[in-house]
Symmetry: C2
Subunit: 125 residues, 2 copies
């Protein structure tokens, strides 16, 4: 099999440099029905849940708080949290943070809510 | 939902400190039927393939070469490669490297080959 038939490697820093809009996850990879996404975030997102998708957050740069209804999870660089399906959550970042997401293909960033923050679920970079 | 019912956050550096054996992936998270694993590697692994599993490699520290039959993919820190199912590959690291793996639950590290490098597919840390 030649290299041309395979997707290339993914450099997280180079991919992040292509993102200019906050709270707009971009797909960088696909495997086993899941999408690997990158996003830049700052401020407060909206409360939402994903009824049929567990969602992984990995902080690449900065800090991210995953607010849950009864507790908060504070993530620094190199820390991961998996929000189980059906659990309401709200990501918040005081300063700009860069995050990697892993979730099933088609997962909407705002989950069960459709609002001004809702971004396309199929944008590759 | 209280914090006690949710899995906690995963600190990659702390989890890696718990691994002492090379080429022995340890599970640190689970979502959507997939396992998130960490491994320390050095030297040459064995050639193998996963017939029904795409496999993601993310280099956290060091450098990793994914040898394919017709090409090599050289990964540095912050770089990812997805080996599609059915594609023969061999990971090689000249110096110790730390990697994150993402693949379906039950995926064996040596794929279709059972040898002295085969590790349990269900070891959590």
């Amino acid at each position: 099999m030649s290299d041309h038939q395979l997707p290339g490697k993914i450099n997280l820093r180079e991919k992040l440099a292509l993102i200019d809009k906050l709270w707009t996850p971009k797909i960088v990879g696909e495997l086993n029905g899941q999408h690997l996404k990158l996003a830049k975030v700052k401020g407060e997102f909206s409360w939402h849940q994903h009824d049929n998708a567990d969602e992984l957050f990995l902080v690449i740069r900065g800090r991210l708080t995953i607010e849950l209804r009864d507790s908060n999870v504070e993530l620094s660089e190199g820390e991961i949290f998996v929000v189980p399906r059906g659990v309401e959550h709200r990501p918040v970042a005081d300063q700009e943070a860069h995050i990697l997401l892993f979730e099933p293909k088609g997962t909407l960033n705002t989950g069960d809510v459709n609002n001004e923050l809702t971004a396309p679920a199929d944008d590759w970079i």
